[in-house]
Homo-oligomer: 122 residues x 2
Amino acid sequence: MARAATTTDVFNAIAEPRRRELIGVLADGREYAVGDVVLRLRMAQPAVSKHLGVLRKVGVVSVVKRGQHRMYRLNAAQLKPVHDWVKAFERYWTHQLDQIKQRAEKKALERLISNASKKKEE
Amino acid sequence: MARAATTTDVFNAIAEPRRRELIGVLADGREYAVGDVVLRLRMAQPAVSKHLGVLRKVGVVSVVKRGQHRMYRLNAAQLKPVHDWVKAFERYWTHQLDQIKQRAEKKALERLISNASKKKEE
DNA sequence: GACATATATTCCAATATAGGAATATATGTA
DNA sequence: TACATATATTCCTATATTGGAATATATGTC
């Protein structure tokens, strides 16, 4: 089996950094024509069209035609699954200094143990 | 250019659902041998080893040898970039009912406008 | 040493990609 | 109609992937 298509789900779609940049441009909630994005990101037009196509397929952006322009708008709600998933790990880095210290000490201890066992094994 | 390697960064690494499942197993912060994960997820052993290898390369898990076992542990802090990125869009879905209503109305209005302009263009 | 267990690595196949270049398709305008 | 603008699509190439099967590499135990 090959790697899952980028259009499989949001996780695959946002793995590509250019697409995250695209989303960044649309992040203010306003609609943008393809050309606007091309100018802002200085990306080739076909690249922008293709990336927007991927984002559209997973529902992260929506399009409406207006004259010869296609106006793209962010559909941020589709990013929620990513947020939900990663939010579960929030506590590992939000808990303040004392926690960080605790973890540093724990890590140092683990390193000692790890090194000790490595030496034994070599 | 081909798609970026899965080991390029966390975003690419977590795009694969099996790897998110792996992370899910390690989510309690305890360490697990490869065999433990194989049993829990009923995945083939080589698959587990490979996926853990990817996660290790991007720093999401760490390993220590212990006897014939390799104990993997989650390094959740490495997931922070994902959290930071997606957190910027939080407001789009966390704001309560009245906000959702507002958005629905806005959307309905936009749809009217969009349809109107579509009709003009056809 | 012989054998079992735990894990990693290699080889294979099929597949989807991203970018670039060229081209096609609308649409607007004179 | 002819031309310009905006956008999408097609074709190309190089590359990395995932899973499976087989195999290699520790390590533990008798």
